[in-house]
Amino acid sequence: MKEMVKFGKSPVFFDKFTRRPGPIQDNMHYCPGCGHGILHKLIAEAVAERGIQDKTIILAPVGCAVFAYYYFNCGGISVSHGRAPAVGTGVSRSTPDSCVISYQGDGDLGAIGFNEFLQAANRGENMTVFFVNNTNYGMTGGQMAPTTLPGQITTTTPYGRDVNTEGYPLKVCEMVDALEKPIYIERVALSTTANIMKARRAVGKALDNLKAHKGFSLVEVLSGCPVNLKKSAEDMNRFIDENMTKYFPLGCFRDRSAEVEEFVPEYAPVHDPEEVKSILFPRKLNIGVSADFRNESDIFRSERRIKIAGFGGQGILSLGIMLATMGKLRNFNVSWLPSYGPEQRGGSANCSVILSREKIASPIIDGECNLLIAMTSTALEKFKGELKPNSVLVYDSSTLERPDVPADIKVLGIDALNIAREIGNVKCANSVILGALSVVLVDSYLQGDDKMDFDRAFEEAIIDSFNNKPEVIKQNLYAFYEGKKAGAKCFKHGISGNIDKKANDDALNEIIKADNFRDSSTDL
């Protein structure tokens, strides 16, 4: 006597489920009588029949089905709560020949992830969503979900769902039916065998659409949660057929699969990781110094604490970044701590920069400031008390009066805003300040070779900060040189180097030549 398997375990399931060690490796983790298992079987069967196992990627939600990737022997991604359609969008767009199945429950799709789901449906992303509706949060112990029926008792609605305070259940299929793009919407139930067979057809149709890459399909599956709803298998089926379907009518809401043409995606090669890296992390210029380089001037024997303050849009934070970058390129330890309001423009902004040879214990500068750069009067009033004796205060004399500070503090007023305006871009005021600052530093505090080196260090910081934007580099370098002139004037003595405008331009062009960028660049 010979036997032939007529109905048996699908080859899309793994032979053994290695979710946890131990002898039980054939069973899924679902409770007895759970609808998830039935839907898993229907999906596995449909995937096997269509021969798309290699191309299928199943997105496991947060919820009971979170371990789906232990069961389906195809691609799987475990996704943050409710974010499966967002991840599915990424997957289906980056690998257009994949078949993306988003498997979500009612808490995942209907509550926390409803916006992701609805937006993906509205965009008509190329994926199929299986929405398992069991009217409660099953994994966490049967709390009320968006789909809990009116009057239904759950652990969080002990007197039944009150529509006056908790509203009515979300009718997801009906809501998606209001959108233009989805091509297939159907609600099925996993109760009687007849209903399961209808569900099987719906799953098949949805996967046909998926295989042909026709667009967005949604299959809502009314499923039983016998443990949390405290029902036997028989009562569960009756509850689905009598109570749930009354509120969630079964049937096909939309089927445009015949109208939509099959989409044959071109083979999409896996993106070159080097290319991705170069997009995410722009090329760095080969600037800076060797790893063992140390500036030996006395000023760097202790930590340098710099505070930059003004209002948002003045380039306060980017000035801080330029200074920190300068430190980084000269092998300092640096910290950069911004503080700003929610406004992109206006509102007070400040940042603290620390340059140190030693490890920096805290990025906060609290009353121990070596250098304050103030661009507004409020910033000046607020932070001038934090300056230590023998420190330096730089302020924008275009808009501010000379502040009244103790005699041992060096005050440098730079006409930054006016100079920047002459250059043609008021946004460059910060680079003007940086130029002036370099003069103060080089002429008053640095010794020996450091003088030469720091001229270069500041330029490199500007180039590095505005990497990939040659025009901005050019403008800011020009502002930097103008700032140097202004700073030098302030100190009543000239500075060496190329401050001649023509020579400046030639030097800048040399620096930012495209060739120069590419040839001198190194990978990360």
Partner: protein
Amino acid sequence: MDKKFRVHIEFDQCKACGRCIIACPRKILALGKKLNRQSYPAAYQAKDGCIGCGACFYQCPEPGAVTVYEIVEA
């Protein structure tokens, strides 16, 4: 010639939810007395007369618990 079928329910994989027993049109399945490795009284084919409809297979939430065989005469 009528086809003959047989239901095999893997003893240790059954969780005794009872869905197959309700769904079977011939009512040939029943819960057993003996507990399996997971402490469930697994279902089994108690009577002959399987028609191979597959209702038990599709009702069963476990991927590999139910297998329906067609008996091919030698």
